[in-house]
């Protein structure tokens, strides 16, 4: 990992919500230039919080980074506004879609190009997004609130791409998407990564997919990184295999045959 430039360096951050709820207890991670890094972990592990800390969206949730540092291309970014970050090319796709309910799909996408000024470029980007997600094109004049869950998810991803980012923070991009679209989304990631050298940090529950496309992964558990390693390494790790990939101990098990509730082995605690 050291052979490439580190673009994003998160160093031992602690995050507290509402002045009392300590959620991240010293998380460190690095994202190399043009890398795809996956952030894995169960519900409530703190993935979303980590991404919010990076993109500076914590304030609106009444959270704050109390310790540690976050650097983007060598520059401390804890005190920048989210808009400044977008101007530097870092854009986040928020969990839970967050489309602008009253705007149409197309207007939603266009707001994504707020930081762009070149008309031609904007039009080209729009075309690109419609190409990625043809479904959006057919729904372009509907108000976002009245589209299906998956359509909204596509809209949120497409909107972020409209700003021509060089680093994208994706929070559960596959959620609510049909299987081929999930595939499509990850292909887009790959595509952008290879052709346009976009760096990705992806928080994802679909471990299978994530580890298939990522180069490197971090696994979080109750506010800490408990394991990290190259994607191949994680893919072959027994624990990961059992708990995240469902292929522990040989064949994939049918969901029907899981006989008892699992008590997950905790790395910590």
């Amino acid at each position: 990992m050291s052979d490439k430039n580190i673009v994003l360096n998160v160093n031992g951050i602690e995050v507290i919500y509402n002045h009392v709820i300590l959620v991240l207890k010293g998380v460190s991670l690095q994202v190399p230039e043009q890398g795809i890094v996956a952030l894995l972990g169960g519900n409530g592990a703190g993935k979303t919080t980590t991404l919010r800390a990076i993109s500076n969206l914590l304030k609106g949730e009444r959270g704050e980074v109390t310790k540690g540092s976050i650097e983007f291309r060598g520059e401390r970014i804890e005190n920048l506004s989210p808009a400044d970050l977008v101007n530097r090319g870092v854009v986040q796709v928020m969990e839970g879609r967050h489309c602008f309910a009253h705007l149409t799909i197309e207007e939603n996408l266009m707001t994504g190009s707020y930081t762009r000024t070149d008309k031609g470029e904007i039009a080209a980007n729009l075309e690109k997004v419609y190409n990625y997600f043809p479904r959006l094109k057919t729904r372009r004049t509907s108000q976002a609130a009245y589209t299906s869950g998956g359509e909204q998810q596509m809209c949120a991803i497409g909107r972020a791409l409209m700003s021509n980012p060089n680093m994208v923070l994706l929070d559960e991009p596959s959620m609510g998407l049909a299987p081929q679209i999930v595939e499509e989304v990850f292909n887009i990631v790959k595509d952008l990564n290879e052709k346009e050298k976009v760096t990705f940090l992806i928080a994802e529950q679909n471990t299978n997919m994530a580890l298939k496309y990522a180069d490197y992964g971090y696994i979080m558990e109750s506010g800490r990184v408990v394991m990290d390693g190259a994607a191949e390494y994680l893919r072959t790790n027994e624990d990961v295999k059992e708990f995240y990939l469902g292929v522990g101990g040989g064949e994939r098990k049918s969901f029907k045959d899981v006989k008892s509730y699992k008590r997950r082995k905790r790395w910590l605690a």
């Binding site: 507290i16 509402n18 002045h19 009392v20 300590l22 009444r62």
Partner: protein, 358 residues
């Protein structure tokens, strides 16, 4: 280290369902009520009673009512002043027209009429929401302002449209001195506070909150929006109506519709927002903030001024009071957008962790 729930194990759900599940809270509140009934009478002077405590108690009661509607059921209303007025004038008409009707019955009848009017003006809430509803309830406010000013019957045909009562007594006990009035209002507040707390932690309270937070989902799990909203309007306007009657009978003695003007509606709404929407305790905090703080600033500023040798003129004083009051509102909101009650609970939570930072 002292404020802990450690070692307090709940052996039944009933125990966990108490109003204040933490023993310290329970004792704290009991102590507070005891203080209010027993200790305050030893220390308060007439000014405290008449200018601060009684208005505070009555407006707390009104804010409590408004909180049920706005904070719990999410129906923003700016008609509370009108419901207070209905309570006051209805109680007044019962009081002067029905010979020998006990005071408490009159006051409660005020509440009953406010309930009816409240339900009537609550009907638009079935269709109109949010700020739109808030402005729609202003229709109730202005209509009532007008009606009590214009229809002489309501004021027992007084020429100027003012109503007045005197010689109040309950069960043969006079309610005339400030202390008596204070205790009278306090009793009302405690009883209504308890009932309201019971309501909001029961099924009906959950229905209100469900409607507030997401009405479509609420109806999917079988909550009838109409019943929930109108019952919130009813309960809220009942309490507000009684508070209005108390305000008129006990605090003012003689009043005109302006005592329940739209400013009052705004004032009550602000108490609720600032105190904490959806918190019974918050209503008291909010009322305290909005009733007491300006007075306190007004009292303290001249002292401060004289300490640094500036004589503050009357107008400058009032303006400074406004500036400081406004700034404090903003400051508190920034510290805790969910109101003083939330601030209080965060403080308690910190206390629970103390002396460890997290």
């Amino acid at each position: 280290m002292f404020y802990r729930e450690n070692g307090q194990f709940k052996t039944s759900y009933n125990a966990d369902q108490q109003i204040f599940p933490i023993a310290q809270d329970r004792w704290g509140v009991l102590l507070l009520v005891a203080l209010a009934f027993i200790a305050v009478p030893f220390v308060a002077d007439e000014y405290m009673y008449r200018a601060i405590l009684i208005p505070f108690l009555i407006l707390s009661l009104a804010a409590l009512g408004v909180n049920i509607l706005v904070g719990y059921c999410g129906q923003i209303s700016l008609g509370s002043g009108a419901f207070m007025a209905v309570g006051a004038y209805a109680a007044y008409n019962f009081f002067v027209r029905v010979e020998g009707l006990p005071l408490i019955v009159s006051l409660l009848m005020g509440g009953v009429f406010a309930t009816l009017v409240g339900i009537f003006f609550g009907i638009p809430s079935l269709r109109v929401k949010g700020l739109y509803l808030a402005v729609a309830t202003l229709a109730a406010q202005f209509f009532c302002d007008w009606a009590f000013l214009r229809i002489k019957w309501f004021t027992n045909d007084s020429a100027s449209g003012t109503a007045s009562v005197s010689d109040l007594s309950v069960f043969g006990l006079p309610v005339q001195t400030p202390l008596q009035k204070y205790l009278f209002c306090l009793s009302f507040l405690v009883v209504f506070g308890l009932l309201a707390k019971n309501l909001v932690r029961s099924a009906i309270g959950r229905e209100w909150m469900a409607i507030r937070d997401m009405d479509v989902a609420a109806s999917v799990i079988g909550i009838r929006p109409m019943y929930a909203k109108l019952s919130a309007f009813a309960v809220s306007s009942f309490i507000v109506g009684v508070a209005g009657a108390l305000w008129a009978f006990v605090h003012l003695g003689s009043w005109e519709p302006a005592a329940f003007s739209v400013d009052r509606s705004f004032q009550l709404l602000f108490m609720v927002i600032l105190g904490g929407m959806g918190s019974i305790m918050g209503s008291f905090f909010g009322a305290a903030f909005i009733v007491i703080l300006p007075i306190a600033i007004n009292l303290v500023l001249p002292l401060l001024g004289s300490m640094v040798g500036i004589e503050v003129s009357t107008a400058a004083l009032t303006h400074a009071e406004q500036i400081i009051f406004g700034a404090l509102i903003v400051w508190f909101l920034i510290v805790e957008p969910h109101g003083l009650a939330k601030l209080w609970s965060v403080a308690k939570q910190k206390l629970r962790l103390w002396p460890f930072p997290h």
